[in-house]
């Protein structure tokens, strides 16, 4: 088992064929393929504005999926991230309306995100409570807390400076897309080439072996959750600043969309394998499918069924592929 994991992770290994068959390539083909097919059926789908909106409106999901990928690679799961993003978006919106300096408005959600996730990571790693129990509990604490504090009020009259999403670099590249691309590249490089990044794979692949190699699986899990909190904070900012109002409730089923992006992006639910480039592509793919449904006259109410189906297909394919490889060796 561990040998398979190691051989899949060695940087620079494998030729063109391998690249061709990789999850990222598959996702890229799917994104282009769907664009062409749906475009043939309904050319309006290919309008620059629509394609731009797909990426722009869902960059926050891709950013949150980066952290989720790390969590899953480390052999854990987090279902509280949707609620956390709702809470952090509300916090930053409230601060902005209260007239707090913009830098604090942007930094506070990041800090709170890191703290909440680190706390969860510590409970999981040091008190040995399964991640699903901790994050399910936290999900309801955050969700219930948010609704009972705000009563689901909408936050309006946000100051102009708050809208991160309106900032465009060189007049063409919107900030959310830039952040999504930069975060993906940095996280991918860090996970692949740094010692602490490699420790995540080692912990998820085989925690005992990792410990014997001098990696602390517990500290790694806390670190992973802290980073996940940071990405959740960034995602919350992108989410909060893309509209003119913030509805201070938890976005429904957001955690499922984030988990779908991470899993469909090629992160193995058995831990130890995965890339954040894949999860970002998967986030774009899911958003593209959601938009495409409308253009081919299928009701958008089917989107959650499509997401669930995508997770199932990817997971089953991943497990069958591993089983075949194990038999082969």
């Amino acid at each position: 088992m561990s040998t398979i994991v190691v051989s899949r992770l060695r940087p620079g290994e494998g030729g063109a064929l391998r690249l061709f068959a990789s999850q990222e390539a598959l996702l890229a083909f799917a994104i282009v393929g769907i664009a062409i097919l749906v475009g043939l059926y309904n050319p309006r789908f290919l309008a620059t504005r629509n394609l731009g909106d797909i990426v722009l409106g869902n960059a926050y999901i891709a950013v949150a999926a980066i952290g989720m990928s790390m969590v899953i690679v480390s052999g854990n799961i987090d279902i509280s991230v949707g609620s956390l993003i709702g809470v952090l978006a509300t916090i930053s919106g409230s601060l902005a309306v209260a007239g707090v300096p913009i830098i604090l408005v942007w930094l506070t959600p990041l800090m709170v995100g890191i703290l909440v996730m680190m706390l969860q990571g510590a409970v999981i790693a040091y008190l040995r409570i399964p991640a699903i129990v901790v994050t399910l509990g936290m999900l309801s604490i955050l969700k219930g807390g948010l609704i009972s504090v705000t009563g689901g009020r909408w936050i309006t009259d946000l100051p102009q400076s708050f809208h991160l999403a309106d900032i465009e670099l060189f007049g063409i590249l919107p900030m959310p897309v830039l952040i999504m691309v930069a975060a993906t590249i940095l996280a991918a490089l860090w996970m692949r080439y740094s010692a602490s990044g490699r420790a995540i794979f080692a912990t998820g692949g085989n925690a005992e072996a990792a410990r014997l190699c001098g990696v602390s699986p517990r500290r790694t899990v806390v670190m992973v959750f802290a980073l996940h909190g940071l990405f959740a904070g960034i995602a919350a900012l992108l989410f909060a600043t893309q509209l003119k109002v913030i509805q201070s409730t938890v976005p429904p089923n957001l955690e499922l969309t984030v988990i779908t992006a991470a899993v469909v992006g090629g992160v193995s639910i058995l831990g130890g394998v995965g890339t954040v480039v894949g999860s970002t592509l998967a986030a774009v793919l899911i958003a593209e499918i959601a938009s495409a449904l409308v253009f081919i006259n299928v009701s958008p109410y089917w989107i959650h069924a499509v997401q669930g189906g995508l997770i199932l297909v990817t997971v089953v394919a991943d497990i069958l592929r591993r089983q075949r490889r194990q038999v082969g060796e």
């Binding site: 409570i129 309801s140 219930g144 609704i147 959650h304 669930g308 189906g309 497990i319 069958l320």
Partner: protein, 326 residues
Amino acid sequence: MAVLAPEVRSAAPRWLIRHETLLVAILLVALVILGLFNERFLTVDNLLNQGRLMTEVGLLALPMTFIIITGGIDLSVGSIVGLCAIMLGYSWKNLGFPLPLAIAFAIGVGGVAGFVNGLLITRVRVPPLIMTIATLALYRGLAEGISQARSVRNYPEWFFYTGQGEWLGVPVQLWILLVGIIVAGIALDRTTFGRTLYAIGNNETAARFSGLPVDRVKLVVYTLSGLAAGLSAWVLVSRVTTTRSDMGSGYELDVIAAVVLGGTSIFGGVGTIWGTVVGLVMIQLLKNGLALTGVKGDATIIVIGAVLIASTLIASSLHGRREVAG
């Protein structure tokens, strides 16, 4: 293994007795305190009504106890409730099924949904957690897609008997839950099936090598979970008189919290139906007590979430030995 088995058997009941006595003691104290705070609380009417409200989650908690004892989990139960509720309304209104057939059909759909979970968990070896997260999305998505978020109303009067009627002065659905509790309790405690669940949870590989039908038993418990969700959906639709695709969402929290609070170990191998029943009653009384003291519905999930984490923490620190083994 021969050395391990008697040790486990002698250690588990002693710990269980302590855990359950403790729970019942806490329950009694809570009852008295809530009764003192509010005179409407300790009335027969209120308690029976709480029993009525508890049934939908209670029916799900019974098979969930089985599943968690085997070391698995089912996060999709709430979505199956939603799917079954929609299938009940849809098959009656849109497909023209007679209502009794629609009820049977909805429960059947629940069984199939649970069977699919069990099939992929046992045949493809998808971890239960990720399998049921996927179907949490999938089944809810099917409910939304099939219903197009339209609700179904105008059921005939007799249909409301299950959810609102009384038999011998006790809510009808409470009788269903009672039968379920007795059957599940006996099945877990007194049958080979029940003992197999503990064997799987304690050491699945050993259970397999002992010739126990591990996969078949797991398939059965996940299917039971789906069937219970179908039953729960029927009771729920009958109680609230309408069908919506978001029905049952968030139920997994209440169900898992009740089971874990009742002393079933999230690591598998330990747990009883009686514990789950006490856990259920505590969760329901907690909700009711908070509501009576003026806490709004949304805020109660904060408490339930905290109870879930805290009871797991306490159980695992009382029972540290299991962690090392796991």
